[in-house]
């Protein structure tokens, strides 16, 4: 057994590139046992799997691995405690989504990786068909997004999908979350078999383009003195309302 102990080892240098977004076009890194087990169960294609010697016994027998020193593992990990394993995972090639059916979540320019991951995880729990993200939304393959997404990207498909494309293609009714008063309360929505729920940017909300494309704008009536809801909380309330409608 060879243990890689040098941070300048060619394999380590190659894997470390994946800590930068521009190198994550074909594959990305996951950290920790929870995500590894989710990936394994989902039948994901792995690249190199880096592991600490004392953690080897936890790996399934059919998996190739490379033992590394703690310092080398820390070099390619984002979290301070990567739990003994970092693995490269291939991105799946997605076919074009069929947006005429089912319930979809659209994230427009959402900036915070934690919000993006949490919303995808919640869409999964609400049984949505898939998630669309605008090109300016936080990278779904960043360590922070992956951490809050908790493996949901293996449960439902996620597509990068420019908002303008919705104007050109047939799709389910577009429901845009809005702070504008003339929008409808979500409590007054009728049952919807097919819908695309759009959540906007944390600071600006949904764009003018989103408003102009909307089949319906919607808001969450608030009591109390809070000015707004966190975008992931608002998404949670709406996703579960739509799940049950």
């Amino acid at each position: 057994m060879t243990i890689i102990t040098s941070k300048t080892n060619p394999l380590i240098k190659k894997i470390k590139k994946l800590t930068k977004k521009k190198y994550r076009k074909d594959s990305y890194l996951i950290e920790g046992w929870h995500l590894f087990e989710e990936a394994y169960q989902a039948g994901a294609s792995f690249g190199p799997i880096l592991i600490l010697e004392e953690e080897r016994h936890r790996l399934p027998a059919d998996v190739n691995y490379q033992v590394v020193s703690p310092a080398v593992l820390a070099e390619v990990a984002d979290s301070k405690t990567p739990q003994g394993i970092v693995a490269e995972v291939q991105r799946e090639v997605q076919e074009a989504p069929d947006l005429t059916q089912g319930k979809w979540l659209y994230l427009e320019e959402v900036q915070d990786p934690g919000n993006v991951g949490t919303m995808i995880r919640t869409a999964d729990a609400a049984g949505f068909k898939g998630v669309l993200v605008s090109p300016g939304t936080a990278d779904i393959y960043s360590p922070k997004t992956l951490r809050s997404m908790q493996g949901s990207h293996w449960h439902l498909p996620i597509y990068e999908y420019p908002l303008g494309q919705l104007a050109q293609e047939a799709h389910a009714p577009l429901l845009v979350t809005s702070l504008q008063n003339r929008s409808q309360s979500y409590l007054d929505l009728g049952p919807l078999d097919a819908v695309i729920l759009l959540m906007g940017n944390e600071g600006q909300g949904a764009s003018e383009q989103a408003h102009s494309l909307a089949d319906q704008t919607v808001h969450i009536p608030m009591a109390g003195q809070a000015e707004s809801l966190n975008v992931a909380i608002a998404a949670g309330i709406l996703l579960f309302h739509l799940k049950n409608s």
Copy 2:
């Protein structure tokens, strides 16, 4: 006008103590204009207000302040960009809560400051009467909690309240969020004028003690393959369901 430029100035050393929880028994620090304006509108009692020279004009005329250098401001701030102002704010003395009436949120051992702040902000938006926190819940006066709370602690009262005390006092029905199958779906809850909704720890969920004190346990039915919801998302769904029930 005197500008404090030394990090070892006695006033700065005194204020810097408030970056540690153990010194925040009577007062705490807020950063940035959004929180300052919320505090001012709420009639909060201020201690020293530290400000950059070029930001002075933004302060109301009736407020005392101390101009400091950027390096000194950064010394007492948590965020990298404290937006020109850091202020000491006195904690309010809370009378004992009347838990027999109205809707309350109870946070039991919630560890993440962002989750704690977001849940209090959401309880505010849902018109809840107040929030109870167990002694082991993340400090509500930490910079991260204050940031995600967005001033809601000036809108509704927050009490540190040991769970065991509920056993000894009359209170509204205690609704405990549970992952156990024998709990009720939140969709089947009848209307509730008065309730205490308990959300548990991120990893362990609600404690055995909470389950034994519960008048009703409740869960959120999930579709899809997600194993669980983020605790703040679950709270958002339940708080707004109870708001509307």
